[in-house]
């Protein structure tokens, strides 16, 4: 058993190293010279001498692999380097942003999971009834709505037309509602469709007919169907967190929610590479860990060897 766990951790580490190398290499091939940009963005006249001194200070002169090695070890020590924009260490800014993004992302995830689970179960129980059809149409449309579109529509109707909410979120609970709604609606659509498909495929299995043939109550049957589908549902949720991360960047920019997403968007316009790299490494790591957990859970729930 331990062998399996070790193997899993090893793959996790290997992928993380490759992830960091990919991100670092990306910066290397980026157009323009970061040192020059930093100087111009601070309004310093760019002369050869000043430029070389700046490059030296930022360590841009060292060979690529050495710089990558240094950067990797510093990340492991939790030091994400200094921001190009304001020379402040990047790590605290990223972590603080991460905290606020977590609030937004986890609430949206929770909201979406609960609603979509209830709708999925309801639509499977009353298959081809009116409720099922409405839920199918709703989930189809919401699954086709990009979250930036929803936020614009919500802002237009709720803030401007009905004047229920302030246009700029003030970071308080009321301000949280619109961003959460914009993030949740597409997720609810996607979860309902995937969960419903999972339940229906499980319902078509022979053992459900077998249980009905023994007069087992629908409650027990549904419990078994849901229990068997949980494994796949965890994988679906884990994959969905990736899209959720991307979505939160968009939503935070729109609603000015001060999370890591907004931070990275500002740093992109300011060409602040350490922040961008830090963002990708942190998000990549979280995403990997979530997927590994989902993998372990689904194997625990359905121990049958892969047929």
């Amino acid at each position: 058993m331990i062998k399996k766990v070790l193997k899993r951790i090893l793959t996790l580490v290997v992928i993380l190293v490759i992830l960091s190398f990919f991100v670092f290499a990306l910066m290397y091939i980026a157009p323009g010279d970061p040192a020059e940009k930093r100087l111009t963005s601070q309004g310093v006249a760019v002369t050869k001498k000043v430029l070389d001194a700046e490059r030296e200070r930022l360590g841009l002169m060292k060979p690529f692999l050495v710089r990558y090695g240094e950067w990797l070890f510093s990340i492991i020590r939790g030091d994400f380097g200094i921001s190009f924009k304001d020379d402040m260490p990047v790590a605290p800014k990223l972590l603080q942003g991460l905290g606020r993004t977590a609030v937004l992302a986890l609430t949206s995830l929770a909201v979406s999971l609960i609603t979509s689970f209830l709708f999925a179960v309801a639509s499977v129980l009353k298959k081809d009834g009116i409720a099922d059809r409405i839920i199918k149409v709703f989930s189809f449309v919401s699954n086709s709505l990009p979250n930036f579109l929803i936020s614009v529509l919500l802002m237009y109707f709720l803030c401007i037309k009905l004047k229920l909410f302030p246009v700029i979120a003030k970071g308080d609970l009321k301000g949280l509602l619109l961003p959460v709604l914009s993030l949740s609606i597409p997720m609810i659509g996607r979860f309902i469709r995937q969960m419903r498909a999972e339940f229906l495929s499980e319902m078509s299995k022979d053992y459900v007919a077998g249980m009905r043939g023994r007069g087992v109550k629908t409650g027990y049957i549904m419990f078994n169907v849901i229990r068997n589908s949980l494994g796949h549902i965890f994988t679906i949720i884990a994959l969905q967190t990736g899209t959720l991360m991307g979505g939160s960047v968009v939503i935070e920019t729109i609603f000015r929610w001060p999370g890591i997403g907004k931070l990275v968007m500002d740093s992109i316009t300011a060409r602040d590479y350490p922040v961008i790299m830090g963002f990708v490494v942190i998000m990549g790591t979280i995403y990997l860990i979530i997927n590994q957990i989902a993998d372990v859970l689904s194997h625990r729930l359905d121990p049958r060897p892969e047929s």
């Binding site: 990306l26 086709s144 930036f148 614009v152 237009y156 401007i160 990736g242 991307g246 960047v249 992109i268």
Partner: protein, 268 residues
């Protein structure tokens, strides 16, 4: 009986999709005004005769920008889906059929690609590489081919066990003949259906990146960036945002509907 109804649905939707493509491709004929021509006099005018969708903050005709923007988004999406489809299916087929080391390496690479959250990678790549549709397409393309590769691999894997492949081996046919004549045709249907469903998601991704300013470089017209530009003055000129938003929604829904209908048809 159910099949007939589904077939009709597919035909209607494909006609709609085609109509959409034609309208955007021949935008020149339909839209009179030049999409990038600004006019100080006509800033933020409401929809009227010569500006059917009104004008935006720089006085550009929203109607022609929606059509030309459609062309950018749809062509970029189709190109991206087509490339990922071709690359993914080819790699998936080879891995599925030969197995062994090639399969091991390529699928490990696919796992690594899938290990990154797609949008996060897209933002990083587009952000660092700088704007332009090319950057956005590379960003999305990196992870998109994987879904096609996985689907093609699993189908090839199950097809390989089928008796008619064994019969072809006994008939003295080589691997390449078997892949092209037997595996590919039987593979096309499921993978093409997947391609249809990918169109909607890709469009969301591309317009999302443009919305963040990481996709299209102004002034070229693109729905995502139009919505992003129009958002600031939504109170005064809502039409500059609502029409591109509507266009995006309708296009995505048509392609998702088409994808769903084809999937149901194949299962019925």
């Amino acid at each position: 009986m159910k099949k007939k109804k589904l077939k009709a649905k597919i035909i209607i939707l494909s006609v709609l999709a085609l109509l959409l493509l034609l309208m955007t491709c021949f935008a020149g004929l339909v839209a009179k005004n030049d999409p990038n021509a600004t006019s100080a006099a006509a800033i933020r005018t409401a929809p009227c005769a010569d500006y059917p969708f009104g004008t935006d903050n720089l006085g550009r005709c929203v109607f022609s920008r929606v059509l030309y923007g459609g062309r950018t988004t749809i062509t970029a999406t189709f190109f991206l889906v087509a490339v990922s489809f071709a690359a993914g299916t080819l790699i998936g087929m080879i891995c599925g059929y030969h197995g062994g080391i090639i399969d091991g390496i390529l699928m490990r690479i696919a796992d690594i690609m899938l290990a990154f959250p797609q949008m996060v990678v897209a933002i990083a790549v587009a952000g660092i590489l700088g704007g332009g549709m090319k950057g956005a397409m590379i960003a999305l393309g990196i992870t998109m081919w994987v879904s096609f590769a996985r689907l093609a691999r699993s189908h090839t894997f199950s097809l390989k066990k089928e008796a008619f492949i064994k019969a072809a081996l006994i008939a003295g046919k080589g691997d390449i003949y078997i892949i092209i004549v037997h595996i590919l045709p039987n593979l096309l249907a499921p993978v093409l259906t997947n391609a249809l469903t990918q169109i909607g998601t890709t469009m969301i991704g591309l317009s999302g990146l443009s919305f963040l300013g990481l996709g299209v470089v102004p002034p070229t017209a693109e729905w995502g960036s139009m919505i992003s530009e129009g958002r600031a003055y939504i109170q005064i000129a809502p039409w500059a945002v609502l029409y591109p938003a509507l266009a995006t929604l309708i296009t995505i829904i048509i392609f998702n509907c088409l994808g769903d209908a084809v999937m149901d048809y194949r299962e019925a």
